[in-house]
């Protein structure tokens, strides 16, 4: 256990008409700094996950922008891996501490998506797919995951109702999360009857377009107790890549990058999936959560849908998934998501998750995916 999380912070996720990217990033950053009880000058470096400020707001060089706004002159790096940018930023931060170069690091994730119109956002997000061979033909992210869903239904008999239950569960969890974009409870009928976005996925199968930022203060494990009585340790990290285009994958129903990333993290932590008490997985679309539970080893391939029928992944179930409300209910400001997932796990392991608290949460997992599965990064946390 060489790295600890000593501070967390997050903005509310939603449509922030009055806040720009730098305001959101600073808000999350200062919350984490205050939560850790450190001073700004204690920070040695910053890693910021952000997918596409260039296309959404015409701004590149965002890490320098944010560190400047924080009044810091530390090394600041923007990390990008599409929707996995936040998780990747965390991993880079962890490595910088393990390397001995830095003792205390600020890991952030931020995205400002609502300054463009919906069709513009849909196009920007397609930057995470193959521009020349997928986006060129008018494919969208909902349709890529819809194609995965169609195949999963064909190969394993997964049903629309099972997919809908992911959204229902996550909205229920989100209703108890003060930072969530959506706090309304929904039903399976609501999901099935909402407007079709890309057959068979409806509006409620899809995570929304969101503004938001989240941040962590991580440090060398030996320093943790100096700042908090309640440190959470990062005991495993894993990452893997796969072909960018969905059509080049070996399987259309498994994200091999998720499988490999998880295996590495489990190995490093010296545990198996059975030891995980709760997980934040990448539910950009309802089918993605079902596939993730299989890829992360919580059930056999093809049985992810059944978990929803049996309530296994509810807060009071055997393996609670997305107690925060997931990407679906909390929202998905792309670069921030991976960091927000870590914030949720840390809160849960500290016992600070309020109404969402999982009893006796000791070991938690975050799973963050880029695009249709070309990047996957997994972290394992422990009390």
């Amino acid at each position: 256990m060489k790295v600890a999380v000593i501070g967390v912070g997050s903005t509310k996720f939603g449509e922030h008409w009055e806040k720009n990217l730098r305001q959101l990033a600073i808000e999350a950053g200062t919350k984490a700094i205050l939560d850790a009880g450190i001073r700004g000058r204690d920070i040695d470096a910053m890693y910021l996950g952000n997918m596409s400020a260039g296309r959404f707001i015409g701004q590149e060089h965002v890490a320098a922008l944010v560190s400047g706004e924080l009044g810091l002159t530390i090394p600041a790096v923007r990390v990008e891996g599409a929707c996995a940018s936040g998780g990747l930023a965390l991993r880079q931060g962890v490595f910088s501490i393990l390397s001995g170069q830095h003792d205390i690091v600020l890991v952030g994730g931020a995205e400002k998506m609502t300054d463009v119109m919906t069709d513009g956002a849909t196009s920007c997000l397609m930057g995470a797919a193959d521009q020349e061979w997928e986006a060129y033909y008018g494919v969208t992210f909902p349709s890529l995951y819809a194609m995965i869903a169609r195949r999963h239904m064909f190969e394993f008999g997964t049903t629309r109702e099972q997919m809908a239950k992911v959204a229902v569960k996550n909205h229920h969890n989100g209703s108890m999360n003060p930072i969530a974009q959506f706090t309304n409870e929904i039903t399976v009928e609501d999901v099935l009857n909402s407007p079709m976005v890309a057959d068979p996925l409806t509006l409620y199968d899809c995570s929304p377009i969101t503004d938001g930022a989240a941040a962590l203060i991580i440090c060398k494990a030996e320093l943790a107790k100096k700042y908090t009585d309640n440190p959470v340790y990062i005991i495993g990290t894993g990452q893997a890549s796969d072909t960018l285009a969905l059509h080049d994958r070996k399987s259309l129903t498994t994200l091999d990058a998720s499988v490999k990333a998880a295996q590495k993290a489990y190995k490093e932590a010296g545990i198996t999936p059975k030891d995980i008490d709760l997980a934040e997985v990448h539910d950009c679309f309802t089918i993605a959560e079902i596939v993730a539970t299989e890829d992360l080893g919580f059930c056999k391939k093809g049985e992810g849908g059944k978990l929803l029928d049996e309530g296994v992944t509810n807060i009071d179930g055997k393996i609670p998934i997305n107690t925060s409300g997931g990407l679906k209910a909390v929202g998905h400001p792309v670069g921030a998501t991976g960091v927000k997932q870590a914030v949720e796990i840390v809160l849960q392991l500290r016992g600070q998750a309020g109404k969402r608290q999982v009893k006796d949460a000791k070991i938690g997992l975050t799973h963050n995916v880029g695009g249709s599965g070309a990047t996957a990064v997994v972290h394992i946390f422990s009390r």
Partner: protein, 134 residues
Amino acid sequence: MGHESSVPLFWRLIKPRYQLIGTKCKTCGNVFYPPKYLCPVCRKEGVLEDIKFKKTGKILTFSIVRSAPTGFDKETPYAVAIIELDDGPKLTSQIVDWKEDDLKIGRRVEACFRRIYTDGEEGIINYGLKFRPV
């Protein structure tokens, strides 16, 4: 003018897109479409040459896009699919000339030449292959 209006970006891929020309590795025999510039199997031992694929295949999976990205809004709803060519490679494109029961996993399709994307009223017209049921 961003990449959506780029002339060289689209011109460069005319041959592979219009004629379904991919690459074949002479060392391991694997074929690739879209074309690969380095054999991902052999890497430095790979020697790639052009190969033209037959324009027939079958649907592996599909969806219907109803919420379009910029530039495709007049075309919704349109069908997209991952197609497995008879010669092996899998690619992504649109399905055209379809009726309800044509959108099935396993349905046989053939390539046809269509407009893909028009850059407004003044920009160039980008063509390519879409697939229709046979």
